[in-house]
């Protein structure tokens, strides 16, 4: 296996351009497990030294989180604590203390796991990504990044940062798994209710975390019944049955969470 360490951003973008099939390495919490599971990794580009991508900055209308900010750094940010309690709630039950000290926000997104906890939360917070390549930079909405199981549209590019607009909102977050911590979600649901209505996303319900548009539409209509929730969910989710959970369990728990989110957010 080949290993390159990028000394600065331009260096990293050049390396990505030359070796599009190499994995980016920073927190290493996903890469290390991947290396153990399969021996198909050609090479690594270590971006851990790009300290310019670590900052969390408060703007007048948004919060910008560098792709290399760790989950611990996000939890310690006063700006995030004040304005994005939903992101804090998901971070607190993310993996374990030792992993939170390593795992980066950019890594959680780019790894594109169906169970990506923070990706699900960022979707309902309307996050946009700044992508960088040798050709320059571009912005895309987070929900345009994924194209399948563990598959992204990153094209000789890397995630540089995540921008979350500031907007008054109420929120709901719930994660179900075999235990409380160090737990890969069997189902998680993130819900935001703001002046535009409901935004809902879930992890472990589809090949990748995505917005549940039919459920959103139903809750926004106000004409909600158990039967209608089930119907809308059936259109939005395609959970897999795996060693971690069954399709039936995931479907039922997603239904329970949607009901719980709706009743708690309507009441408040």
């Amino acid at each position: 296996m080949i290993y390159h360490r990028a000394e600065h951003l331009d260096d990293a973008l050049n390396l990505i351009h030359q070796h599009p099939d190499f994995l980016l390495l920073c927190g290493s919490t996903d890469v290390a497990v991947q290396l153990s599971d399969q021996n198909t990794v050609q090479g690594l580009i270590d971006i851990g030294g790009l300290s310019e991508l670590r900052a969390i900055e408060m703007g007048s209308e948004s919060i910008h989180i560098g792709a290399l900010a760790t989950v611990t750094e996000i939890m310690e940010s006063a700006a995030v604590r004040t304005h994005l309690p939903l992101l804090i709630a998901a971070s607190e039950v993310f993996a374990s203390h030792q992993i939170r000290n390593l795992a980066t926000l950019g890594g959680n997104i780019a790894n594109a796991s169906p169970a990506a906890d923070l990706t699900a939360v960022l979707l309902v917070l309307n996050a946009t990504l700044t992508l960088g390549s040798k050709q320059g930079r571009r912005e895309i909405a987070l929900d345009e990044l994924f194209c399948g199981y563990k598959c992204t549209k990153l094209d000789h590019e890397m995630i540089l940062g995540i921008t979350i607009p500031l907007q008054e909102h109420q929120w709901y977050y719930r994660k179900a798994g075999a235990r409380e911590r160090l737990n890969i979600a069997k189902v998680s649901l993130a819900v935001v209710k703001n002046s535009g209505g409901y935004c809902i996303s879930g992890a472990s319900l589809n090949p990748y975390a995505l917005r549940l548009r039919h459920v959103e539409e139903l809750l926004n209509s106000g004409d909600v019944s158990d039967e209608k929730i089930s119907e809308a969910l059936a259109q939005d989710i395609a959970p897999s049955g795996s060693f971690r959970s069954t399709k039936a369990y995931r479907t039922r728990v997603a239904f329970n969470m949607v009901k719980e989110a709706f009743s708690s957010l309507e009441a408040s």
């Binding site: 290993y3 927190g27 290493s28 993996a95 374990s96 203390h97 992993i99 390593l102």
Partner: protein, 147 residues
């Protein structure tokens, strides 16, 4: 490839392969408090300080040690004396395999957070697994170390 880094305040220089784990390197260099349990970040018995943060050394690759400051339990003998004594006194030690990782996390928790609330202590141990004690005695030993 050649790596230079600091382990327990001493400079080290060594050769490693890119796919080697930090955990295996520090063991090879003689830091045997760092145990190899699960190899995938679940059990915490390989915990050490990497640039000041407690991490699973099984998840980091050897090349990431370049220029890093690493501290293992061997380098914290004095600082963890009270914690280790309390682990022994409270019966928080049985087979001992998880103990170094728990002592490292206890030390990390006490210097950074330090609430005596048992619920907080239990939550703080979310990255460490013990298969003997049932955890209660470990929690008690940590709380006692803060008294």
């Amino acid at each position: 490839m050649q790596i230079r880094c600091t382990i327990n305040s001493r400079p080290y220089r060594f050769e490693c392969e890119p796919e080697e784990r930090l955990l295996d390197v520090v063991r090879r260099l003689g830091m045997l408090s760092v145990k190899k349990g699960c190899g995938e970040g679940e059990c915490g018995t390989c915990s050490l300080f990497f640039n000041g943060k407690l991490v699973n050394s099984c998840l980091l690759l050897a090349p990431q040690m370049q220029g890093a400051e690493i501290v293992t339990l061997e380098g914290l003998q004095k600082e963890t004396e009270t914690i280790r004594e309390n682990f022994a006194k409270e019966g928080a030690v049985q087979c001992g395999f998880c103990t170094p990782g728990f002592v490292m996390r206890a030390y990390d928790y006490i210097i950074h957070e330090g609430s005596k609330d048992e619920k907080r202590v239990k939550e703080a141990l979310d990255g460490n697994i013990c298969r003997c004690t049932g955890y209660q005695k470990i929690v008690e030993a940590i709380v006692k170390s803060m008294s």
